[in-house]
């Protein structure tokens, strides 16, 4: 018996000791006093190379500062952020988007950038890009890159159908007529669709509603005011594309296969989508890809969205963070970034589009003149946006609009005030 007890105790001790040594080894790396480390988080792997380059440059110019970048998977970015930021174990600088700006800015967790406006040159950005990151008159974010919604089309399909390419004179009628000619049926199944009528509140329905003179949210964004005659007209127009004419696949189909895949694999001739996807389409469709502004109706409208760099208010190294932020607001940053995305920095977009010389990229740059921000509420923005998209999807599953928009208003307005 005594021997057993001894064996057990010795074993437990050994386990404890080995664990301890592992632990100690982990924490033993003493950091040299002078180097201050900044943690930078974002969610898109496509930026890895360009950020590595930028960080190397920044570190070379700023001895004593080290930037640690982490790419967090999009699916769990906000979950991780929510846990890390309030406990001070989160990033010092990170990406923020419109809907989440609404939730994060009032919490006091984000650093107010106004005191640093001499270091960070906000005047180099169009104010529509800084606005979503403002709270009570102060600026909290440095704009990064934007995307707006345009019309993508397949030149080869237009050539085959003998149609002229879309241009900035196009109205909804032109759009409808082209869709008709570009829809091809074979023995009762549609093998090519003219277009996709998308309920999505960024790349689809909202653009059409606005183009028809409708409204989305109220001025103060506390109420959804989408149920107007113009709004209903626009929604029914899109519904007709699906059900009345059959020029567009159904919502289920477009979500199952995804809009982008359908366009890329030659199932659809035209889609409205945001410019963030341009790189992908250009890679796959090459010279067959064409872009144009969306058709106008009573006016032009295109939903834009941009990201912003924000800083944690709890950062241990505010000075170093500000140095990094001013680098991120510089022309040099915009030049490097333009190899992957369209920077918000004045003139940055033109640099991005140089690569796509065979496309009418002026169309994209021009959208800033008639851009409307992503439709988000002033309160509870994230959940409201998700719910809005869900409700729109439901409405689009019926051939007739009926009271659809009024119903959506009810549901959304309830959610805003939760």
């Amino acid at each position: 018996m005594k021997k057993d007890l001894r064996t057990v105790l010795v074993a437990m001790l050994l386990i404890a000791l080995s664990l301890n040594s592992l632990f100690a080894a982990g924490g033993a790396e003493a950091k040299p006093q002078e180097t201050k480390t900044i943690n930078f988080w974002y969610w898109d792997q496509n930026g890895e190379e360009v950020y590595k380059k930028m960080i190397a440059e920044f570190e070379a110019q700023n001895a004593g500062i080290k930037v640690n970048m982490s790419i967090i998977p999009w699916s769990d970015y906000w979950t991780k952020l929510q846990m890390a930021l309030p406990t001070g174990t989160g990033p010092d600088v990170f990406w923020l988007n419109h809907p989440n700006a609404v939730s994060y800015l009032p919490t006091g967790l984000i650093m107010n950038l106004e005191p640093y406006k001499d270091q960070i040159k906000f005047e180099n950005f169009n104010s529509i890009y800084s606005e979503p990151f403002m709270h009570e008159g102060s600026r909290y974010g440095v704009p990064i890159f934007f995307d707006s919604v345009i019309l993508y089309y397949n030149k080869a399909m237009f050539d085959k159908a003998g149609l002229a390419y879309p241009d900035d004179s196009w109205t909804w009628d032109d759009y409808l007529n082209a869709s008709a000619k570009l829809t091809i049926k074979d023995k009762g199944t549609t093998i090519q669709y003219g277009t996709i009528a998308d309920p999505d509140m960024q790349s689809g329905a909202s653009n059409f509603i606005l183009q028809n003179g409708g409204t989305l949210f109220s001025e103060d964004r506390m109420k959804l005011v989408i149920d107007t005659p113009e709004g209903r007209e626009a929604a029914q127009f899109l519904l007709d594309l699906i059900y009345k004419y059959g020029y567009s696949p159904t919502v289920s189909e477009m979500r199952e296969i995804t809009k982008a895949t359908m366009f890329q694999s030659g199932m659809v001739a035209m889609i409205t989508n945001h410019t963030g996807i341009l790189k992908q389409f250009a890679e796959i469709l090459g010279p067959d890809l064409g872009i144009a502004p969306m058709p106008k109706q009573k006016q032009r409208a295109s939903i834009y969205h941009n990201l912003g760099y924000v800083a944690s208010a709890k950062t241990k190294h505010p000075e170093e963070v500000m140095k990094f932020m001013s680098y991120l607001a510089s022309e040099r940053h915009a030049t490097l970034l333009s190899s992957v995305w369209a920077p918000c920095y004045n003139g940055g977009a033109e640099l991005f589009f140089k690569e796509y010389s065979w496309l009418d990229t002026k169309a994209i740059v021009d959208t800033v003149n008639y851009g409307y921000p992503l439709p988000i509420s002033a309160k509870n923005a994230g959940p409201v946006y998700t719910l809005l998209n869900n409700e729109m999807d439901k409405v689009f599953m019926q051939p007739q609009l009926g009271n659809g928009l009024a119903e959506i208003e009810k549901v959304i307005n309830a959610e805003i005030n939760k």
Binding site: L19, S70, T89, S265, Q280
Partner: protein, 277 residues
């Protein structure tokens, strides 16, 4: 006559198994074949079954080159081994106590452990995270390993296993002067050979694929696990399906190899050899 029936029985059995096996294999066939496709080929409609070139190793090159999957392998191995072996030992130890010793509150404690399985893990992430922070284990391998070592499943399973071994073994050992630990370690555990192997493999796979907890604990990219790296392949708007499917092959392969190697150790039938009933 009975022999003919037996052969018939075995043939039908074999046939049924073969059909099941083929159905099971289809998705694997799909991901292996897809790993040689270009992005364009993976998103084609109609679906492209065979890539243009079976020697197209671009996806693999990208995963191991630019995306540095090899270093994530190292992290997975550290975590998995750090979790599995302590878990097998400690859970079996506890299982022995639950199975063989009568002590106060035994049943209550056992059922309370099952409670741990019932709550969706997302609900306990935040309190656990704070705990790890307080213990100073944040952003470390130990932060992943230590909370993952205690396991209800393994303890429960081993308890069932030990309970099905005859008590006569315990009795004779006790009469020979053995204490609890000796009975556990030298007599009963060796008889749980297959069970330990089975549950060991399950634990291996589970910790290998674990995603949510490592994601929450680790901030440094160097310590990322393979499952986090795979999740990063899924973008906000578009996913590189060809890379994702190749990653599926790359991540699952080691576990498959481990399982195949372990087949040798699943010994048939005689667990009670040499014991007089």
């Amino acid at each position: 006559m009975r022999k003919l029936n037996k052969t018939w029985g075995i043939s039908i059995g074999f046939f049924v198994l073969a059909v099941f096996a083929l159905i099971t294999l289809v998705p694997f066939f799909w991901i292996v074949v897809s790993s040689f496709k270009t992005y364009r080929e993976t998103v084609q409609i109609p679906v492209v079954f065979f890539p243009a070139s079976f020697t197209n190793l671009d996806n693999y090159k990208e995963l191991f080159g630019r995306l540095n999957f090899l270093s994530y392998y190292k992290n997975n191995i550290i975590n998995t081994i750090g979790i599995t072996f302590p878990q097998l030992f400690l859970s079996s130890l506890a299982a022995y106590a639950f199975a063989r010793i009568d002590f106060p509150f035994k049943n209550v404690i056992f059922v309370s452990l099952l409670l741990a399985l019932m709550i969706p893990i997302q609900m306990i992430l935040m309190p656990r995270y704070k705990l790890i922070l307080d213990l100073g284990l944040f952003d470390s391998y130990l932060g992943i390993i230590i909370p993952s070592i205690p396991s209800v499943t393994t303890t429960f399973y081993m308890r069932q296993q030990i309970m099905s071994l005859p008590r006569s073994l315990d009795e004779s050992a006790y009469l020979d002067g053995a204490g609890h630990f000796r009975i556990f370690w030298s007599i009963l555990l060796p008889l749980c050979h297959s069970a330990l192997l089975a549950t060991g493999i399950m634990c291996l796979v589970f910790s290998w694929n674990d995603f949510l907890w490592p994601l929450v604990v680790i901030n440094s990219t160097e310590k990322y696990t393979l499952s986090i790296a795979v999740a990063n392949l899924q973008g906000q708007h578009l996913t590189r399906d060809n890379l994702l499917l190749t990653a599926a092959v790359v991540v699952s392969l080691p576990m498959v190899v481990v399982f195949i190697i372990s087949q040798r150790y699943f010994i048939e039938g005689i667990a009670l050899s040499g014991i007089k009933e």
